[in-house]
Symmetry: C2
Subunit: 100 residues, 2 copies
Amino acid sequence: MKVRIVQLSVKIESVDAFEEATLENQHNSLLEPGVVRFDLLRDEQTPGAYTLYELYSSSEAILAHKETAHYQKWRDTVAPMMQEPRVGRDLMLVLPRHSG
Amino acid sequence: MKVRIVQLSVKIESVDAFEEATLENQHNSLLEPGVVRFDLLRDEQTPGAYTLYELYSSSEAILAHKETAHYQKWRDTVAPMMQEPRVGRDLMLVLPRHSG
């Protein structure tokens, strides 16, 4: 399984709209067969700082996610809300060994 | 719910021992009532680079985890395996809204 961790810096005035758009994307993403988890985290010490934790069944599932209408809608909706470009890292799940 | 994300840089010669020690800690941590998830991730691009993703029911559960014998054993076991001091961040789970 593959994990994508994305760091986002959102403009303060856009945090509510960002969370709302991400809720819609999360809901639809979890309906994809290859998306196992989709967590949004907020850094309480740094206003506007968020992290996405996305667990996929495979590398192919990451590519398939990026082709979906809901991902592309989210990407375009939140683009003007970003304070800085977002930074993603791709990782491999070591533990747990046999589950999501 | 609270999430702790920890970045670790492990000496190359210690990665197998590190994964083994972390497996034991993960197994025991998931038996704690306040530990919801405990994921270990490996960065395939950077040998020795790992991330822990730990989801807790509350801030109190994070403190309780640090008091357990299995956490303290893991901490002491892996300390000499670290290439650099580990870096942790505490975050709040925004989504999913009602689950782990």
